[in-house]
């Protein structure tokens, strides 16, 4: 029950973040959604994710506020064209209806199949020696994924450093 309430809170926060006109408030609202997500992770018994989500959310918030603060913000109107809004809503409605029928075929909420996960739980400790099974998975069973993940962060850092160069071309335009 508290799960649904938190989800509703997140949806509310997201709507506020999308619709409010002041950018700073919008960024803060999305921060609230992220912290709500962190709580949901805690309820869903995922403490690793709760911690990570919390700190990542704080960092994202700082970066976003840095980007928005002290910028003059002329009021930006959304697209006025009614047809576009209408087609967007139509698309989203179709998506949700399709999703509704598709989700019916999933296993019920709270009863996953655990075909592969069973082996992690049963033999994770003895095979890797780590008591935190999530750590055992990300760094041993699926360590290759984590190499990719570390590389993604590396790529992003290199990308940011490349994009923020003041001069792109040596004798260009």
């Amino acid at each position: 029950m508290e799960l649904q309430l938190l989800l509703l809170f997140m949806i509310l926060g997201a709507i506020v973040a999308v619709e409010i006109e002041d950018l700073l408030s919008s960024v803060i609202a999305v921060g609230a959604v992220g912290l709500g997500l962190s709580l949901v992770f805690l309820i869903l018994k995922a403490p690793d994710l709760a911690i990570t989500q919390l700190v990542v959310e704080i960092l994202c918030l700082i970066i976003l506020i840095r980007a928005t603060i002290k910028k003059d913000l002329p009021l930006i109107r959304d697209g006025r064209w009614l047809f576009n809004t209408f087609s967007t809503f139509l698309f989203i409605a179709l998506f949700l209806i399709f999703a509704y029928f598709a989700l019916k075929e999933l296993p019920n909420f709270g009863a996953p199949i655990m075909r592969v996960a069973k082996e992690y739980i049963e033999s994770g400790l003895e095979k890797t020696g780590a008591t935190n099974l999530v750590a055992a998975i990300i760094l041993d069973f699926r360590g290759y994924d984590t190499l990719g993940e570390a590389t993604i962060l590396f790529t992003a850092v290199m990308g940011v450093l490349a994009v923020m160069r003041k001069v792109g071309r040596i004798n260009g335009k």
Binding site: I51, T52, V55, I62, A130, A135, A150, F154, V160
Partner: protein, 149 residues
Amino acid sequence: MGNKETGMTLIVKTITRLTVGLILLYGIYIVLHGHLSPGGGFAGGVIIALSFIHLMLAFGKDTALKKLSQTVASVLESLGALMFLSIALLGFSGGYFFFNFFLHKGRPFELFSAGIIPLCNIAISLKVGAGLFAIFAVLVLSKKSGNEK
């Protein structure tokens, strides 16, 4: 958010001086106990980066960059990445890429256990901490020069 190099008010600075070490220590704790308790390299790395960002926000960029300059940060990041890759490569000694090559994985629930997992955590935290700090420093520095224009 003082735009001069001085940073924020005295109250903020004093409290920062007290807490920054604790935050850093907490980050290191989370990294080292990643295989025993929730957390791990990523969360710990982000916390370490946040402690430096905290310093930068409170004292202005110069103080923080004196502690950890941008070049050092990007070198540390590349080193962390290389370390992670070489741990993965060392697995070839056991026959496979990413093989957990410690034969004796130690007793469970102890700090020195679980083979390569703590080592990987340290490498990742180095990478994440230094990388995120570098991103933040670059974003802040560019903002300043953008204002001067």
